[in-house]
């Protein structure tokens, strides 16, 4: 995903790109580059959150009623799964710092399993249930009642935000497959682990987005 995963052999230490003076500079640049990318992601999701906030204030009852159609149990379970995957990712980064190859592979696999579990729960327990309940705005949406239009708008936001989040998770899982292959070939050691750490930053960010999505979409102003 970023430059750091470009560790090719050069005359000096194998993983140092030609245009950097030392490994310290390369690692700092990689981390700073990822944080800047996460900044753009904050503003990208931020645009959606701002639009959501405006409409939530404008159509409070409709959004409130819309969020009642969502099941809090699966939302909470997904949050726990994603926080768990954040933990295993942090441990993977830690074992990369210490150069323990087997531990990296173990924790990476654990993180990917939890990630797939999250998407699995999302797909067939939440989205398909919403489909059968007729909650997808552009696929047979039939919700009657006073503020059906606002509920429809709520579900547009629900599917846009969770869809965009799921897309980012799929990208994260893809990167982790590449990491797994590199770890299996023993490319990481305590001197060179930047790719693992940068992917870790990305994964924790995706977790933070869900940490905000869950209360804003599911617990919308209380479930009483």
């Amino acid at each position: 995903m970023t430059e750091a995963s470009a560790a090719h052999t050069a005359e000096h230490p194998p993983y140092l790109a030609h245009h950097f003076t030392d490994i310290e500079q390369q690692n700092e640049s990689g981390t700073l580059g990822m944080w800047l990318f996460l900044l753009t992601e904050i503003m990208f999701f931020g645009g959606l959150f701002a639009t959501y906030a405006v409409y939530r204030l404008k159509y409070f009852e409709g959004f409130h009623e819309g969020s009642h159609h969502l099941s809090v149990q699966f939302g909470a379970l997904n949050t726990a799964v994603l926080i768990g995957s954040s933990l295993t990712m942090a441990l993977a980064v830690r074992s990369a710092q210490l150069g323990r190859r087997k531990a990296i592979i173990l924790f990476l696999i654990l993180t990917m399993v939890l990630g797939v579990l999250f998407i699995g729960i999302k797909l067939n327990f939440e989205w398909s249930a919403d489909y059968h309940e007729g909650l997808i705005p552009w696929m047979g949406f039939h919700v009657e009642g006073a503020n059906a239009a606002a509920v429809r708008l709520f579900f547009c936001f629900y599917f846009f935000m969770t869809g965009l989040h799921a897309l980012h998770m799929v990208i994260g899982l893809g990167i982790m497959c590449v990491l797994l292959r590199m770890a299996a070939k023993g490319r990481f050691d305590s001197g060179y682990f930047a790719p693992v750490e940068i992917t870790g930053l990305y994964w924790h960010f995706v977790d933070i987005i869900w940490i905000f999505l869950f209360p804003l979409l599911y617990l919308m102003g209380g479930r009483y």
Binding site: E61, G62, G145, A146
Partner: protein, 332 residues
């Protein structure tokens, strides 16, 4: 702020002269103030641009390079100079902001006895509706000296009702009412345009404002064949769509009585209190259930799509005429 007043004869003379048009006609009470601010800013712009150009030109000549290895002295940073040309522009900006904001807010609200006119923007024409029932397309007849309040909306995309001679403009936004006002000071015929891009016929949405003396206006008013007034049309629709069955005058029906409601605050079930005005009524007609009223069941059907913008405005005119915060003196 009136320092430019005495020059108005000069400006009037220039306006009359043929050749390159420079000054738009000035035909409304607002135009005077806006023009003075505009001239002040023009003078400010030309002055600073002139100063910068002359200083640069002088330096270019005075300090042109005489020989290739000429060594200019080192640059000294004069903090005093830096501060002056930071503070002075800030002061100018704050002053001009104060002047323009006060001018804008003083003219934001229409004066009390305004003549109400409804303007509906449609893709590529302006539909204008007088309260007396006269409907005009791309034409607007108004008496001189009378403040005219224009309430506007759009039936499709965003349009913008712009009368250059009066220096007023407002977007006609679909799904909402926005309003502006002007008071004509000169009789004559002036252009009005659509100033927000709205598709293929954007350039065709041009019309004429005819400002007439009061008696010409009265003659025009009497002369034109007049359909039913807005209120009469509203009453007819009130019967036709069965509103009367629920909104019984004495409040005994399933819906609340509408007599004397316009302009009064109305408490909703979720605790919000809104003032019963055009927007409230429009939302009540198109999305009734989104604003449930205490001790009445939200059973009213939505009329979204059945009534067009014009009919909604006629119903609102009828509800207004049922008493309540009625505007006291009518324009004429």
């Amino acid at each position: 702020m009136l320092m430019l007043g005495p020059h108005s004869e000069l400006i009037a003379a220039l306006q009359a002269s043929p050749g390159i048009p420079i000054f738009p006609p000035r035909a409304s009470t607002v135009a005077e103030g806006v023009d003075q601010l505009h001239y002040f800013l023009t003078v400010l712009t030309l002055f600073f641009t002139f100063v910068i150009f002359t200083v640069i030109f002088y330096y270019m000549v005075r300090y042109r390079r005489r020989s290739e290895d000429e060594q200019p002295p080192a640059t000294r940073t004069l903090m005093s100079l830096e501060i002056t040309w930071t503070v002075i522009p800030t002061l100018i900006c704050v002053l001009v902001f104060g002047w323009s904001a006060s001018l804008y807010f003083r003219n934001a609200n229409p004066p009390n006895a305004s003549m109400e006119i409804i303007v509906i923007g449609k893709q590529w024409m302006w539909h204008i509706q007088h309260p007396e029932g006269i409907r005009e397309i791309n034409e607007l007849h108004v008496p001189v000296g009378v403040p005219v309040k224009i309430t506007m909306t759009s039936q499709d995309v965003i349009h913008d009702f712009f009368i250059p001679a009066f220096r007023v403009k407002k977007d006609a936004m679909p799904g909402r009412y926005s309003s502006m006002w002007f008071q004509a000071t000169k009789t004559g015929t002036f252009h009005f345009f659509c100033a927000q891009y709205c598709g293929q016929g954007h350039a065709a949405m041009i019309g004429w404002v005819h400002v007439m003396t009061p008696d010409d206006y009265a003659a025009w008013l009497a002369g034109t064949t007049r359909g039913e007034t807005m209120t009469q049309a509203g009453e007819r629709l009130f019967q036709q769509y069965g509103c009367v069955t629920c909104h019984v005058a004495d409040g005994s029906g399933r819906g609340p009585s509408l007599v004397g409601q316009f302009g009064k605050p109305q408490k909703l079930r979720d605790g919000q209190t809104l003032i019963v005005d055009e927007t409230f009524l429009r939302r009540a007609i198109t999305q009734p259930n989104s604003m449930p009223v205490p001790n009445y069941a939200p059973v009213m059907p939505s009329f979204q799509g059945q009534l067009n913008e014009e009919q909604i405005l006629q119903l609102i005119a009828y509800v207004k005429s049922l008493g309540g915060e009625e505007r006291k003196a009518k324009g004429q």
